[in-house]
């Protein structure tokens, strides 16, 4: 790649002087009466891997298809690298898309599939050949150039689809569930490879996925979508550790939600009175509310501890009975029933090798979490 890739600083989204590469301004898409994408605004910076994460039917794919030009906007504006994309046909856009089904042309060889886009640009034959060879070696598919798509495995097709979308050096690469058709093991390997390729080319990626683990692994930032709206944008860590609302907390990873009312609003903390848990939950001061306001406290299962012994000086302590145990190898998941009947999920890493668990069904256990482990989320 001859052109120098100028990627803005490590976190361009917190730099007020950084200019977004892709601007999505108040975009709405309606299909008849149904609103698929509702007033979405996003700013994505050069060199990012931005994941649109959400369940099926949340509008993430429609948003991607509007970026590629396959769907018209009902209202709003999409600006790529300073250029408004309104009225620009898909074949004239500086974007390329990797389709969920890959959509490799079945009547063409791998080589011809990849050369297809370059030929449409009228590049000289010699340049087409070198670029095809280069991209094939980048995705490690050089040996399969003469094969037809039906002679390839799922993972190989995925690489060819990626190569075909990348070979035109698009300003923006759109990936629709890029790992959707791969099995788990292959998916994990490919995720890291995709990041490596993206870093070496510097192309900005927008990835649509329903797989939160994939989004966490790949992305610089995640936009969580539901019902056509973006509910939170942030780095994977922000999304996981500081979910802004219940939906995000629940959608990303698993979470225990305790409903309650603010009982005490101190200098550095609040206490949420929670009848379900039978205690006032201590949370660091992340909200400002009035006494008696209804809130919910979210606590991740892996941030809880359980033991038959006393848990010492943990800020929040309860007790309950073990209802269910799921042994996952690296960790175990315990369902613990509190005296109120509420069930709490606790993950414990299996740090030591042992044949028998020290905790069994029906055991009475103490459980607790540190003062800063919980977070208040609005409903």
């Amino acid at each position: 790649m001859s052109e120098a890739v100028s990627v803005a600083g490590p976190k361009p989204w917190i730099d007020p002087s950084a200019v977004p590469f892709l601007q999505i301004n108040n975009v709405t898409k309606k299909f008849g009466e149904f609103t698929s994408v509702s007033n979405v605004s996003l700013e994505i910076y050069k060199g990012e891997i931005f994941c649109l994460l959400g369940g099926s039917g949340c509008g993430k794919s429609t948003l991607l298809r509007m970026l590629s030009g396959f769907e018209d906007l009902t209202s709003g504006q999409i600006i790529i690298d300073g250029q408004d994309q309104a009225g620009i046909a898909p074949y004239n856009r500086p974007t390329n898309m990797m389709f969920q089904s890959y959509a490799l042309f079945p009547h063409m060889t791998v080589e011809k599939n990849i050369a297809y886009g370059l030929k449409r640009d009228g590049l000289p034959r010699a340049e087409v050949a070198t670029r095809v060879t280069d991209i094939l070696s980048l995705v490690q598919m050089g040996a399969f150039a003469a094969r037809k798509p039906h002679q390839l495995s799922g993972g190989q097709r995925q690489r060819v689809a990626l190569a075909r979308a990348l070979v035109k050096k698009p300003k923006l690469l759109l990936l629709d569930e890029p790992m959707g058709a791969l099995d788990k093991k292959l998916r994990e390997e490919t995720q890291f490879e995709l990041i490596k390729i993206q870093e070496s080319l510097g192309v900005t990626f927008v990835v649509v996925t329903h797989d939160q683990q994939e989004a966490m692994t790949l992305s610089s930032r995640i936009g969580v979508m539901t019902a056509g709206k973006i509910v939170q944008v942030g780095t994977p860590r922000e999304i996981y550790e500081y979910p802004q609302n219940r939906f995000v907390a629940d959608f990303i990873g698993s979470v225990n939600i305790f409903e309650g009312r603010i009982a005490e609003d101190g200098e550095s903390h609040v206490v949420v009175a929670c009848p379900e848990a039978g205690l006032g939950i201590y949370v660091p001061h992340s909200i400002s509310g009035v006494i008696g306001q209804k809130v919910a406290v979210a606590v991740r299962p892996e941030k809880m501890q359980i033991s038959k012994e006393d848990l010492g000086d943990l800020r929040n302590k309860l007790s309950g009975t073990i209802d269910e145990i799921a042994y996952l190898g690296d960790s175990s998941v315990y369902q613990i029933r509190l005296s109120s009947g509420k069930r709490v999920r606790v993950n414990q890493s299996n740090l030591f090798r042992s044949e028998e668990s020290s905790l069994n069904y029906g055991d009475r256990v103490n459980l607790g979490w540190a003062g800063n482990a919980g977070i208040v989320v609005t409903s």
């Binding site: 030009g69 396959f70 046909a89 390329n96 389709f99 959509a103 079945p106 886009g117 640009d121």
Partner: protein
């Protein structure tokens, strides 16, 4: 044994006779083809090698027992006659030309129609397909007669054009090659549309989007993606139009003029006017080979392309 259902009893019986269900299933169409295709073909082939005679039937036997001699009379004269008389070669070429041109016209009309039907809303497709098949509900002969009413000099089309003032005197359309093309294209168009539709309806829209995404304009996408991917449908549709059109007799007889030369008419004349069964049979046999060779070539091309279409 008595507790077994009837089906397995029959199965066991057939098994003892060395017949399996699968063989039985294949056997029925095989016997059908044998009785109604191969045997008539052999009869026609036999007659084509005999000598015409004023007799009943109007040809001499091939195998004779005369004075203790078994005489086999194979008469190749009929075939040589086809080569000698330029009429026959011209008729073959004329048929292939008319059928070929009509096939191309049917493809040009049928492809957009099939494409539109395949791309229309699923609940409207069946209605549109039914409209394509609707003409089959009336007799083929009646429909061809109806075209006479349209094309004749004081027919619907001429009257309309005269009344509008586009023409001053009636166009001669009936009893020309033009009328034959109209008749063939009209009659066989559904045979072109149906296989094309069946093919195009399966065409994944993602391929077209991928092509557009990679920078291809709609025309380029059509030529480089849509057409190659629907090639098997194009071949099937063309064969279904071309093969019956070559041997077509009714349409050129009713709509064609004295200049229209098609092998179907020649065959008819030989058979019914000249009562020369042997020459008529040899015309039929040669026509079969004229058709079989391109069919084999197309089949071969189709199976070569089969792997790609998957």
């Amino acid at each position: 044994m008595s507790s077994l259902p009837l089906g397995s009893k029959i199965g066991a019986l057939l098994g003892r006779l060395g017949l399996k269900g699968r063989i039985l299933v294949i056997a029925i169409p095989t016997v059908w083809l044998l009785v109604f295709f191969l045997i008539p073909f052999l009869v026609v082939a036999k007659i084509s090698f005999s000598e015409a005679a004023i007799a009943r039937p109007p040809y001499l036997p091939i195998v004779e027992w005369v004075d203790g001699f078994l005489r086999v009379n194979l008469n190749f004269g009929n075939y040589l006659f086809l080569l000698e008389d330029p009429l026959y070669v011209a008729a073959y070429l004329g048929s292939v030309k008319i059928a070929g041109v009509a096939t191309i016209i049917a493809l040009l009309i049928g492809y957009p129609m099939a494409y539109l039907i395949a791309r229309s809303a699923p609940d409207r497709r069946n209605l549109l397909l039914m409209l394509v098949v609707l003409p089959f509900w009336t007799s083929f002969l009646l429909r061809v007669y109806a075209w006479i009413g349209f094309l004749k000099s004081n027919g619907v089309i001429n009257n309309l054009l005269l009344s509008v003032g586009i023409i001053d005197e009636p166009l001669v359309m009936l009893q020309t090659d033009f009328a034959v093309y109209v008749g063939i294209v009209y009659t066989y168009l559904p045979f072109m549309i149906l296989p094309l539709y069946a093919n195009l309806v399966k065409l994944d829209e993602a391929y077209l989007e991928a092509s557009a995404d990679l920078g291809a304009r709609p025309v380029t996408t059509f030529l480089t993606v849509t057409v190659p991917l629907s090639l098997s449908g194009i071949i099937a549709g063309c064969m279904l139009v071309f093969i019956p059109a070559v041997g077509e007799f009714v349409i050129p007889a009713l709509l064609g003029g004295p200049d229209t030369l098609m092998i179907g008419q020649v065959l008819w004349n030989e058979f019914f006017s000249n009562r020369d069964w042997p020459v008529a049979s040899s015309v039929a046999i040669v026509m079969l080979f004229v058709l079989v060779i391109p069919i084999m070539l197309l089949r071969w091309a189709q199976s070569a392309g089969e792997g790609e279409a998957r």
